[in-house]
């Protein structure tokens, strides 16, 4: 049974072998290399990765065209971009193991090259191409660094390639830390990037090293000389309410080198007592956000030499003080500047740049005037009696800004120290508050009267622990801005009668000016009667102007005295006339007696 089966099989097998053998043989010969090639093809990525053999070499199809220089891709908006890829450079990148279509996933030889899927613009193309990065680089990886997360996850985030490049992507840790100084920062900040403040304002974070830093006097500085919290190891994410807040906070960096200027500015009217700039806490509303900080005048990355700060345009002062600047432009100084006489003063020439302080009732502006007009004091002495007194009691623009409205400013001084008594000192000594002082200063709604002034001076002197307080008077302009309408010399007020005359309009406006500790000033209206009141003999004892601040009561006493003096002879003569018959009778009587004798 077994043999029969074997025989049968042998018979059948022989036939089969004869028939199938060549078929299988042929199949084997042809299939084996095919299988081998397929297996090899499947194994290539692993093989390439293991050996770092550039697959691109096999991307001959792509490189057939893209190795050529001078071939441009033209987008629909006519933007052009070179299609050249430097294969050697690419091999050295961190992506050197990838093939072209690893990233360019949408390229199909059926449509490429061709115009079917041409992008609208270079930007659209780059944005699309950057999507490929996300295939490998996870969300977590992008969020790992806060500044990276902040940039990458924004709706308007720049495409990856803006910072990392396209065919030149290198592992950052391989090259960036080795970059010197500012180059490290500029790898990102030379890109077109910006951030948005909480109020929606945009702040460009783009630095153009060629046009900004290099032209600046700070061109030798490292970025983190000013941006001290930033380094290769740290890049804190900061948020600001507004561009203004940002400027205020960042100006604090300047004090690291310019401490002296910083202190001066902090003591100035622009900052003192109301500004907390450069410090971390800046809350709008609690401080004067408009008050200038370093960068307003000096710029930030473009800090220029001193001569560049102020221009004929009046900026930055004009930003807040435009009305004043307009008046200045029409003044003798402003017009001289416009003619190109650069010696003519600009804002800071008189007000100084950093130590800007309240000017009314101070010698600051006079000092500035005399700084240029050095012969002015002597020139006045030649024609003006008591020139020194006039120059101290009458502000320069009172005469040299002839169209200005003038008035009398009364300022409380301690005669012992020669310094003004501040609002803070007054409030403390009077035991009241600012509101209380304000009410006392305007009790009847017509400005403080002589009695009110005297009561204040008396009380202060009683409690003033040795202070000898009195109001000093000075002629000043009613509107400080009019001080900028300075005219040529020939127009200046020269007539004594303009002031030394009880009808002079300049004595109809009287202001009590109280200096604040921060150099500012509070103004209260005073009733002009204070100038001629008997009571003011005590409170305004150091202020007197010939003819204009006469004590009214003294005028009446004068009239009485003169009439009294006249009436003595008149009455006596009258009495003599009336009594002349008596004397005549007596004389006749005497004569008669003589005759009898």
């Amino acid at each position: 049974m077994f043999e029969k089966k074997l025989e049968q099989t042998a018979e059948k097998g022989t036939l089969g072998f004869v028939l199938l053998g060549p078929i299988f043989g042929m199949l084997y010969i042809f299939l084996l290399p095919l299988i081998g090639i397929m297996t090899l093809l499947l194994a290539i990525p692993e093989y390439a990765h293991a050996k770092k053999a550039p697959v691109i070499e096999n991307a001959d199809v792509c490189m057939g065209c893209h190795a050529m220089k001078g071939v441009d891709k033209v987008f629909r908006n006519k933007e052009r971009v070179s299609v050249f890829v430097d294969a050697k450079d690419f091999q050295n990148t961190v992506h050197g193991f990838l093939s072209c279509d690893s990233c360019h996933t949408k390229i199909s030889l059926e449509t490429h090259p061709g115009t079917a899927n041409v992008f609208e613009s270079k930007n659209a193309f780059v944005l699309d191409a950057s999507q490929a990065c996300r295939m490998c680089h996870s969300e977590e990886q992008l969020r790992a660094k806060p500044h990276h997360a902040a940039i990458a996850n924004r709706s308007n985030a720049p495409p990856c390639t803006d910072c990392h490049g396209s065919h030149t992507v290198k592992r950052i840790s391989d090259w960036k830390p080795a970059l010197a100084g500012n180059q490290y920062c500029l790898t990102c900040h030379s890109q077109n990037m910006s951030k948005t403040h909480r109020n929606g304002e945009k702040l460009s974070l783009h630095i153009d090293p060629s046009s900004t830093l290099s032209a600046s006097v700070h061109n030798g500085h490292a970025c983190n000389d000013c941006h001290a919290e930033f380094s290769k190891a740290a890049h804190p994410m900061k948020t600001f309410g507004s561009s203004r807040e940002h400027s205020i906070v960042l100006s604090g960096a300047c004090k690291r080198c310019h401490a002296e200027k910083y202190t001066t500015l902090k003591d100035s009217i622009h900052s003192k007592g109301r500004f907390q700039w450069g410090e971390a806490v800046v809350s709008a509303g609690s401080i004067n956000m408009k008050a200038p900080v370093c960068t307003d005048c000096h710029g930030f990355h473009t800090v220029g030499p001193r001569a560049m700060y102020e221009t004929l345009s009046g900026m930055p002062c004009k930003g807040c003080h435009e009305a004043i600047f307009t008046k200045y432009s029409q003044s003798v100084h402003g017009m001289a500047q416009a003619r190109g006489e650069h010696k003519a003063p600009l804002c800071s020439s008189c007000h100084f740049a950093h130590e800007v302080k309240a000017t009314a009732m101070t010698e600051r502006i006079k000092t500035a005037c005399l700084g240029c007009h050095q012969t002015a004091e002597n020139a006045h002495k030649k024609w003006l009696p008591n020139a020194e007194l006039h120059l101290s009691a009458v502000s320069c623009p009172s005469c040299h800004s002839p169209r200005s409205g003038k008035g009398i400013y009364l300022k409380l001084y301690d005669q012992n120290t020669g310094k003004p008594f501040t609002e803070e000192q007054i409030v403390k000594l009077l035991g009241t508050d600012y509101q209380g002082l304000s009410e006392r200063m305007n009790a009847h709604g017509e400005g403080i009267d002589s009695e009110g002034l005297w009561n204040i001076v008396r009380q202060l002197n009683e409690k003033g622990a040795g202070a000898r307080l009195t109001f000093l008077g000075k002629m000043e302009l009613n509107e400080g801005s009019e001080a900028h309408m300075l005219s040529v010399k020939k127009n200046a007020v020269r007539e004594c009668e303009s002031c030394h005359n009880a009808n002079s309009a300049f004595f109809k406006t009287v202001t009590v000016a109280i200096v604040k500790a921060d150099g500012g000033m509070v103004r209260y209206r005073a009733n002009p009667e204070v100038l001629g009141s008997m009571i003011s003999l005590a409170s305004l004892r150091q202020f007197y102007v010939l003819g204009s601040t006469r004590l009214k009561i003294l005028d009446w006493i004068g009239i009485l005295m003169v009439f009294g003096g006249l009436s003595v002879p008149l009455a006596h003569i009258t009495a003599r006339v009336l009594t002349s018959p008596i004397r005549e009778a007596k004389r006749l009587n005497k004569m008669r007696k003589g005759d009898r004798r």
């Binding site: 009696p385 008591n386 003169v562």
Partner: protein, 209 residues
Amino acid sequence: MKKLYLHPLPVRIWHWINAVSFVVLIVTGLQIRYREFLGLMKFRDAVDVHNFFGFLIIFNFFLWLVYYIVTGKIKIYIPPLSIKKFVLGCIRQARYYGYGIFLGEENPHHSSPDNKFNPMQQIAYLSIMVVLIPLQLWTGLLLWDIKGFASWIDMFGGIKIVDTVHVFLFLFFTSFLFVHVYLATLGHTATEHIKAMFTGYEEIEEHVH
């Protein structure tokens, strides 16, 4: 009638410089103070003239002071040291001006070079020459250079007080001037005292007792 040499030349020179200065200072003073009512001259000119005559009168005051002290004649200004004598003398003189003169009585005081003034004149002129004039000259000087004399002005209590004193005295002198001129006409004739102030000689009636 006999002639009495009552006013030596230095006294007459002093008197008339004083008289002219007073008038000029009063007029310019009024012009300075009341510019809106008076337009005799410019303010500036009024100040200059006032200052000039101010210094002239200061110089003149010292002329008076030196002359009267050196010659010892200052005693004519000193009222009787006895209060009783002084008071009685004043009453007698006041009675004359207020009563006796109307009845044709004789002036109880007879001027002589050694006893020129009656007790009322003595007390008036002594106060004027020793207190009021120096005070007026001094305050005037302070007002002339307010900056230069700032510490003195401060000692006085302030510029407003110095000025008030100066103006008050100016008003007083103005009113006194009327009385002074009138009294000068109360000689035996209206011009007798005035003439004497030019010539130095006063005509005295010889009394027959």
